[in-house]
């Protein structure tokens, strides 16, 4: 076998390769291709920047806790502690405060969740590095988390104090009102401006829940006869509505004014 290529063979190869002419593109087309690739690179970079959603959530939540959380947590703590003290004399049906307090921490947090809107700060906060949308997500997550923790601790305390209570019912008795009433309150507060919206919701819920839990027949039905599956179904439906309400809120904060006609300021009033 021959190792070297002869001159004739080289000429033959050169002739053959001449058939494969690759035209040099215009400079404009090269620039377009470079721009396109650069754009793709930017997208991949921005994807990387966005990948730390959890760490960003923690950062923004820390900010929320630092600037608006202390008083709120103190109020929640005082309310739950006071109710536990009242329960010590065994004269109150233990399920009653579980139902009444179920959605209260979340409803109280609505005052702070919509504070940017009420104070006219929404437009400014939308322009920050950690913007309005991230701030609202953090506040919603914190409010839901606080609600769950408060009620869970309260439930454990009740289970410790009353041996006869049904743990599943204790859980469902705060979980269903939390999911359902929180959703309704969120919808109302999204649509009605002013600090009075969450306050009125809280007032209506307090009056309604006290009325319901004060009615012996209703309480007997809820505690002894109602099927657990019914509560589970109520919880599932309420969860779906809650997810829908939160999505609406976040879509609004992403669409930034496009939903509200010529006066974009109305948008900031609405979120």
């Amino acid at each position: 076998m021959k190792d070297e290529i002869s001159r004739e063979e080289m000429d033959e190869i050169e002739q053959m390769l001449k058939a494969y002419i690759i035209p040099v593109p215009e400079k404009k087309r090269i620039d377009m291709a470079v721009n396109h690739v650069a754009e793709c690179m930017r997208h991949s970079n921005s994807y990387k920047a966005d990948s730390g959603i959890f760490s960003r959530l923690i950062k923004v939540s820390a900010h929320v806790l630092r600037y608006s959380g202390k008083r709120y947590f103190l109020v929640c703590l005082v309310i739950y502690a006071a109710v536990l003290l009242l329960l010590r004399d065994n004269r109150i049906n233990p399920y009653t405060p579980v139902i009444i307090l179920g959605p209260v921490p979340f409803m109280a947090a609505l005052l702070d969740i919509f504070r940017s809107r009420e104070a006219g700060m929404a437009e400014l906060e939308a322009s920050f590095k950690y913007n309005l949308k991230q701030l609202m997500i953090s506040k919603l997550v914190l409010a839901a988390f606080t609600n769950i923790v408060c009620n869970s601790v309260f439930s454990i305390a009740i289970l410790g104090m009353y041996k006869s209570v049904n743990p599943a019912k204790v859980f469902l008795f705060w979980c269903v009102p939390f999911l359902f009433i929180s959703t309704v309150s969120l919808f109302i507060t999204m649509r009605i401006r002013g600090y009075y919206a969450p306050t009125v919701c809280l007032g209506i819920w307090s009056a309604f829940s006290v009325y319901i839990t004060g009615n012996t027949r209703v309480m007997e039905y809820l505690v002894y006869r109602a099927e657990i599956e019914l509560f589970v179904l109520g919880g599932v439906i309420s969860s779906i509505f809650l997810i829908y309400a939160v999505s609406c809120l976040l879509i609004k904060s992403m669409e930034r004014g496009d939903l509200y006609g010529t006066d974009s300021a109305k948008y900031y009033e609405a979120i």
Binding site: A38, H63, A119, L124, S127, K129, Y130, L135, R256, S264
Partner: protein
């Protein structure tokens, strides 16, 4: 740094607020002028990443702002036209709150907040509640928050409204001093705010860019078109119908008018050097004549 606005269009439900606005900005102060409803605030909100354009793009050094996301907002300092303030915060706490949302480290935020309170003349009111602030003080606090992160792009929507003349001079000097290495876009109705400090003046009418050029160049267009004339009061209506009138003063029983006219209005008329006020009247005279103009000059 180059901020490129390309074909920015904003369509609200029943109104076209901006029509194909394109402009390239580099470091320096840009004054945005236009009558009410011209689209100034919409344009500023789009640059401030608060509003999405229906069409068009905003790029920094060729990079799309959507791709930059947080990195873009990190470059921004924004003072909206209507600034709300948390009334229960002290001025210092308010700035620390904003600094936290801007992602500024606590140590740096403290020194920056102190520095800006000093610069804006709010140092003595550092621990006062924002709820007790006057309109001018709130505006100064708004300016301070916009500067917290040493923004490379500073957007100020009517920053001097509510400020007294002394505060306005201080603000002008402050902005002029910091404009060397950043893009400052400043919208105002007070044309004299732009005198001396603006690198370029952007004229916007009904959502469209009319002109964007150095103030000096725009003024050159008015050379030989500004006249001072003294007339008896009885001829005022005739002049008013015929010419665009700037200033009007009464002196020795006569009216002294500052007139914008391509031709000498009368033999006795004296030519004068144009000012930015004249320029505003000249470019927006149609609106002025229809009585819709609301600029404060």
């Amino acid at each position: 740094m180059v901020l490129t606005l390309q074909n920015i269009t904003k369509q609200y439900k029943d109104k076209l607020a901006l029509k194909g606005f394109s402009l390239e900005m580099t470091e320096g102060i840009y004054g945005l002028l236009g009558p009410n409803g011209a689209g100034k605030t919409t344009l500023m909100r789009i640059i401030a990443d608060v509003l999405r354009p229906t069409e068009g793009s905003v790029r920094v050094d060729g990079e799309l702002k959507e791709g930059m996301n947080e990195r873009y907002r990190d470059l921004l300092g924004y003072l909206p036209q209507e600034l709300g303030i948390y009334k229960s915060f002290t001025a210092y706490n308010f700035l620390m709150y904003i600094a936290s949302l801007k992602g500024i480290e606590k140590h740096r935020a403290k020194s920056k907040a102190e520095e800006l309170l000093e610069i804006t003349g709010l140092k003595d009111s550092k621990v006062r509640l924002c709820g007790s602030f006057s309109g001018g003080m709130k505006r100064r606090l708004g300016i301070a928050q916009a500067l917290l992160n040493d923004p490379k792009i500073l957007i100020l929507d009517e920053p001097t409204s509510g400020l007294d003349p002394k505060e306005r001079v201080r603000f002008r000097n402050l902005i002029s001093g910091i404009s060397q290495n950043r893009i400052v876009l400043l919208s105002t109705h007070i044309v004299s705010d732009l005198d001396m400090i603006a690198k370029a003046v952007i004229l916007l009418r009904e959502g469209q860019l009319i002109r964007a050029d150095a103030g000096k160049k725009l003024l050159e267009e008015l050379d030989g078109k500004v006249w001072n004339v003294k007339i008896p009061e009885s001829r005022f209506v005739e002049y008013e119908n015929k010419y665009t009138i700037g200033n009007l003063t009464r002196r020795d029983g006569l009216l002294e008018l500052r007139i914008l006219s391509d031709a000498r209005p009368e033999e006795a008329a004296c030519p004068d050097s144009p000012t930015l006020e004249d320029m505003y009247l000249y470019f927006f005279k149609e609106k002025e004549q229809s009585g819709q103009e609301e600029a404060i000059i």
